[in-house]
């Protein structure tokens, strides 16, 4: 899976709707061809040149087409001639804002449950179109993919849908899940998971062996899972639901405690970390004056520059003994 075509698909939303409808498919096709041609040569300079060309092309032509469509709109609406640049720019800006809220969402990682791959203070963009929930039309126009095991997903936390969580998908509907001494066993096969980290060498029964019994951290939805979906010592993921775990396994509140994520609660797929700032959880959950001053004062030193533009990746666990 390559990220470049996905990003290009998102870039297309910079163009006016008619333009996208008329030419978007062809443009994506051309981009894929250019990209695979450049990738085949294995020449990094050529790839960089292509990316520069695409960026320049997008900036120029998206703006050009926007202005074109606005001018066209104004002249056909028989408003007295184009009313100057201000109108055009205001409308263009509005459209951009609209597009940016429906297609991507900014999100910050407040807790360390995905530590190892995503860090506290990672600010990232979530691709809300990735799994094609943007209505029937969006599904028709845009290529989308089904959620797969190993995908990192952003979703509304079932116990409090105002919060967005990010975890990794371990179980799809029908999968049987259990854990024995930190080892995840899916459908009878132990998983070798390259993406996890374990910070606590000791074993803790309710955390590392699953499903035993609800404990003090189990929420009402978690109780429901234990009550209705526990079959022969395994949790069976029901239709339309996902079983998710944090990569930082020893310090993660996840499906073990609060149950399944309804498929409809999935917001999208984390796309890219655009800014990573070293700040404590409390400051990230709600902005406060101290945090703003902290950012102002330490922007350059506390920004984790090496994480900028990092792309969180899906990863497949190896199923031991599976064919």
């Amino acid at each position: 899976m390559n990220i470049a075509p996905v990003i290009y698909r998102l870039l297309l939303y910079g163009y006016p709707r008619e333009f996208r409808r008329d030419y978007g498919g062809e443009m994506q096709r051309i981009f894929r061809e250019q990209y695979s041609d450049a990738a085949k040569t294995g020449n990094r300079a050529r790839m960089r040149a292509l990316m520069r060309l695409i960026a320049r092309d997008w900036l120029r032509s998206a703006l050009r087409e926007r202005v074109d469509s606005v001018t066209h709109f104004i002249s056909t609406a028989r408003l007295s001639a184009p009313r100057g640049a201000v109108n055009e720019w205001a409308l263009t800006l509005l459209i951009y804002l609209f597009a940016s809220t429906t297609l991507v969402q900014a999100y910050v990682i407040p807790t360390g449950s995905m530590e190892g791959n995503l860090r506290v203070g990672d600010h990232m963009l979530v691709d809300k179109t990735a799994y094609g929930k943007a209505g029937a039309l969006g599904r028709y126009i845009m290529p989308y993919r089904e959620i797969q095991r190993g995908d990192i997903v952003a979703f509304r936390y079932p116990e409090d849908t105002k919060q967005t969580y990010v975890k990794r998908v371990i179980g799809l509907p029908g999968d049987r899940i259990r854990m024995s001494g930190k080892q995840v066993i899916r459908n009878g096969h132990p998983l070798i998971e390259s993406y996890t980290q374990y910070i606590d060498p000791s074993l803790e029964r309710d955390r590392d062996d699953f499903p035993l019994a609800p404990d003090r951290l189990t929420t009402p939805r978690g109780l429901d899972m234990f009550e209705h979906h526990l079959v022969n010592g395994e949790i069976v993921v029901p239709p339309g639901a996902l079983f998710v775990l944090g990569d930082n396994r020893d310090n993660s509140l996840d499906s073990r405690y609060w149950g399944f994520v309804p498929r409809d609660y999935v917001v999208g797929k984390p796309l890219v970390v655009y800014w990573s700032f070293d700040a404590p959880t409390e400051d990230l959950e709600s902005w406060n004056l101290a945090h703003i001053m902290d950012v102002g004062e330490h922007f350059f030193t506390k920004t984790r520059w090496e994480r900028t533009l990092l792309v969180p990746r899906s990863a497949k666990a190896v199923e031991v003994g599976a064919r």
Partner: protein, 126 residues
Amino acid sequence: MYMRKTQAVSPDDLLPLTPSVFHILLAIVDEPRHGYAIMQDVMEQTNGALSLGPGTLYGCLKRMVASGLVAESDDRPEAMNDDERRRYYQLTALGTRVVRAEADRLANSVVAARSRGVLTTEGAKA
């Protein structure tokens, strides 16, 4: 959607063409082509000096269709090994006249440049 007036236009009204438009026209003089083939041909014509991105290319094509220089083609020269859904573009009669007029105009410019001794590159012999 973007149609403008469709009365007969004199080629001269449309000159000078932008380099992108001129080279796109040149790319489809011989046969209808699809987007990527046009892009590659333009690269070749200009020795890489003019590389169009997808947005610029289709923006140009859109306006060229609207002003009647090119039309979408149903002919698919490479149909045997090609994808049905691709869109091909071909010159219209107006497009043919315009690309000739522009080439003449450019030739005249070259003559003027030579007469003042500013033409130094080897590639541009008369």
